[in-house]
Amino acid sequence: MTAVDRATEQEHLRKAEADIAEANDRIARQRALLAHLESDGHDTVMAKDLLQTMCQTLAAMEQHRQLILRELGR
């Protein structure tokens, strides 16, 4: 891997980690929102679906981060 490629991958890693942090924050917010909806007796089906989608997206982001780390490890 050239120095330029490495710098590019490191930039990708930085972006991936920022995205993961933001996703974690969003999931925390969604969980809090879900708890409030449930405590107020609201329908939470859509909120739960969204939370599940967020968790799946986070898993994909973490896989992406692992791929970048693998590239950087070569």
């Binding site: 980690e17 993961i20 942090a21 933001e22 996703a23 974690n24 924050d25 999931i27 925390a28 917010r29 969980r31 809090a32 929102l33 708890a35 409030h36």
Partner: protein, 131 residues
């Protein structure tokens, strides 16, 4: 004069209203006096100067601004703190990586465990289990 034991005061530094509300309620329900929530570093510093908290729960990222200077101030004043954030521990400056750390989303019980351990004299060192 009241003969009730003095309640520990916890400063809450969190800019997400829903999360702040939940943590404030959680800590309040178990008997702590909660200062805040405050949403900026400058307000956190003003709060500390007005009343020294027993402990601070601090979100690492307030509206895009990292709270590293606040962590330094808390450390300088020997005010223990728990870091909560969506970021990984690697984002925390190395000088503070031994502090109690919770990655969002975290379980409320994990936060309470840290708070109780610190306030019961467990310190904020590595003897605290990471959640």
């Amino acid at each position: 004069m009241s003969d009730r034991p003095q309640r520990s005061t916890i400063l809450l530094v969190e800019d997400e209203p829903l999360l702040a509300m939940d943590v404030e309620r959680l800590l309040g329900e178990v008997g702590f006096h909660v200062m805040g929530p405050v949403t900026t570093i400058s307000r956190a510093i003003r709060s500390i100067e007005a009343e020294r908290p027993s402990l601070t729960v601090v979100d690492l990222n307030l509206g895009g601004e990292m709270v590293f200077p606040l962590l330094d101030i808390l450390a300088d004043r020997a005010i223990p703190f728990v870091i909560v954030t969506g970021h990984s521990i690697e984002m925390v400056p190395s000088r503070h990586r031994h502090r109690p750390f919770l990655q969002k989303p975290y379980e409320p019980a994990a936060l309470l465990r840290f708070v109780h351990q610190i306030l019961s004299g467990g310190g904020d060192r590595q003897l605290l289990q990471r959640a």
